[in-house]
Symmetry: C2
Subunit: 108 residues, 2 copies
């Protein structure tokens, strides 16, 4: 197994209904994670990109949260439609997607 | 929330009894994750270190797997007793623990 050039961590934390803290699980993070896995398969990037689901990444109010290492770029409010852009611009061309990056207040 | 200097990902993937693929869940990974959280609290390193549990990190046969970014150092066979060493040597003094690192066959 190769150490990936880009390792994508997708928060899939859920919390019970009525919990005072929001969660990525309330905001379609599962759909976002599935879209990452789907594009990984479709683009056959297994040697370069790894996708891993996670527990809480921290900035719950700003989710769905997606974190890319080794750069440590955190994306917030990621929707299914944004995933292809993250692949095309960041994961394949090394240009993080500025409009999706979380503000420094939450990750900086 | 500060971007951490060291971000530790601890696999907590479980699989059903009898599943053909091993899992970190069969090898006390939950105890390992709890030990990371405990030392984080005890050492009050919240500004520097972040701990996140994950789904499968890949090299299931070599678990419990623990991955540290931004370096991308993967540890295998991590036991509860190893966690303080990873904190003292790697997370606080930037010297990865050679004896715990996974071989290049599994992460390289």
């Amino acid at each position: 197994m190769a150490k990936p050039e880009k390792h994508v961590f997708v928060c899939t934390q859920s919390r019970p209904l009525g919990h005072p803290r929001p969660s990525c699980g309330q905001k379609n993070c599962t759909e976002v994670a599935e879209e990452f896995f789907w594009h990984l398969q479709e683009k056959q990037l297994f040697e370069k990109v790894q996708i891993t689901t996670t527990g809480c990444l921290g900035p719950c109010s700003e989710g769905p949260s997606v974190l890319v290492y080794p750069e440590g770029v955190m994306y917030g409010g990621v929707q299914k439609e944004d995933v292809v852009t993250i692949f095309d611009e960041h994961l394949q061309n090394d240009k993080p997607v500025a409009r999706l990056q979380m503000s420094k207040e939450f990750w900086g």
